[in-house]
Symmetry: none
């Protein structure tokens, strides 16, 4: 059955209203007709079985047949403070880390980040579309949170509420994520991890010093020097698969 994420504002007791992009997909790509059933997720833990009623290129309405709660937040939540990167690399990291199960992305500007915080809302909408499509494709029950871009020092402040914050750094050669993360077994769930992924040019010594003072743990991802987007997916995999 086809799956769609629909904003809870577009779902009432009886009906679901789809977005115009979804109308297009339903009508022209999937060629569904009135009476067909689809699965709708509200991204906040509810799943609906929905029968399509009105179908046009501008409006599709579905009738809710069944509603059930399907999602509890995982015991291990991972938030990535991901440096803005060259477009395709950033988007690739968003897509892959959504598949892996990252709970939220905070686009972050580090000293050596070559892109500025961009107020252009088109970019943000594009990122949202990428994470939503990846969530649909990988059968996640929710979509990850996508925050507005912030600076590194704002990220350090924001991360203070996390259970543990990790910052992969090429000059750290000993401490591996899987070695220190086991200590969080003792913390009552939900555990919230922050992962700081710097830009292509790497972290500055000032940044690492600030990070250490803020209680972040510098970690190694192995001997090879990974690109930023590779580091994001490798470190996320280790956090989520450990223990």
């Amino acid at each position: 059955m086809y799956r769609f994420f629909v904003n809870p504002f577009c779902i009432n007791e009886a009906n679901v209203a789809f977005t115009s992009a979804q109308c297009h997909k339903i009508l022209h790509v999937l060629r569904l007709v009135s009476g067909n059933e689809v699965q709708v997720l509200d991204g906040h833990g509810y799943e609906y079985r929905v029968r399509l009623k009105e179908i046009s290129s501008s409006k599709v309405i579905g009738v809710i047949i069944e509603k059930k709660q399907v999602f509890r937040y995982p015991e291990k939540n991972l938030y990535i403070y991901l440096s803005l990167l060259k477009r395709e690399n950033f988007e690739w990291a968003l897509q892959k880390c959504t598949e892996i199960g990252v709970q939220g992305f905070i686009p972050t500007v580090y000293s050596r980040t070559v892109l500025n915080i961009d107020s252009n809302s088109q970019k943000f909408q594009r990122w949202q579309r990428i994470t939503t499509e990846a969530s649909e494709q990988c059968h996640r029950a929710n979509t990850p949170e996508l925050h507005s871009p912030i600076n590194f020092h704002e990220a350090l402040d924001e991360a203070q509420s996390n259970t543990m914050n990790l910052i992969p750094w090429e000059l750290e050669t000993k401490t591996r994520i899987q070695d220190i993360i086991t200590n969080t077994d003792k913390v009552p769930p939900p555990v919230k991890f922050g992962l700081f992924i710097g830009p292509e040019g790497g972290l500055t010594h000032d940044e690492i010093e600030m990070a250490k003072r803020s209680g972040l743990f510098p970690v190694t991802l192995g001997k090879n020097i990974l690109r930023s987007e590779t580091a994001a997916i490798v470190a996320s995999t280790i956090v989520i698969q450990s223990g």
Copy 2:
């Protein structure tokens, strides 16, 4: 023969001096005695056959019997039988898995692989350029092997010489790579893992049955359904980072 990595500074023309941790292991764990032989690696490409002479809990000295330069494969070698994929996805997987440390790629045609084995040598040369550039960029000491494309049943035959073969499968829900891979600790290194990554359309039941009969282990990568290239990177990370 037991193997020890010893810093080159502790090796001269005639003798090897072991660290105190190694002294403890030699004396109390392995219970070796004067006259026993061990293998010493300096981590810079030289391997030594060494006969133990003085043994105490604070000092162990060995006499070098033989010294040779060895090609330095890591102790854990990973070969991926990667389905041919849409161009950019296949190339992403090659690049990222090279960074992570995969030792070899065997492009493989599964039942649902939509591409054919292509005799076009340009494609192969392009793949080689991608893995070489990724190796240089990530500071690897060697480049991964790149084999010619083969069919799934040829891959099963070829994989028989591996220590252990893994095949991520969405209908396997219990066995995780990190749970079964620890058993390979007992196998003398180098350990050679084969990882079978199927196409976008998934593996057929016939393929899984053939795989099981050939001794492959079906494994899960978690609840989410990963794209093929994501599965390649996630599974490689788990194999290489485990233990």
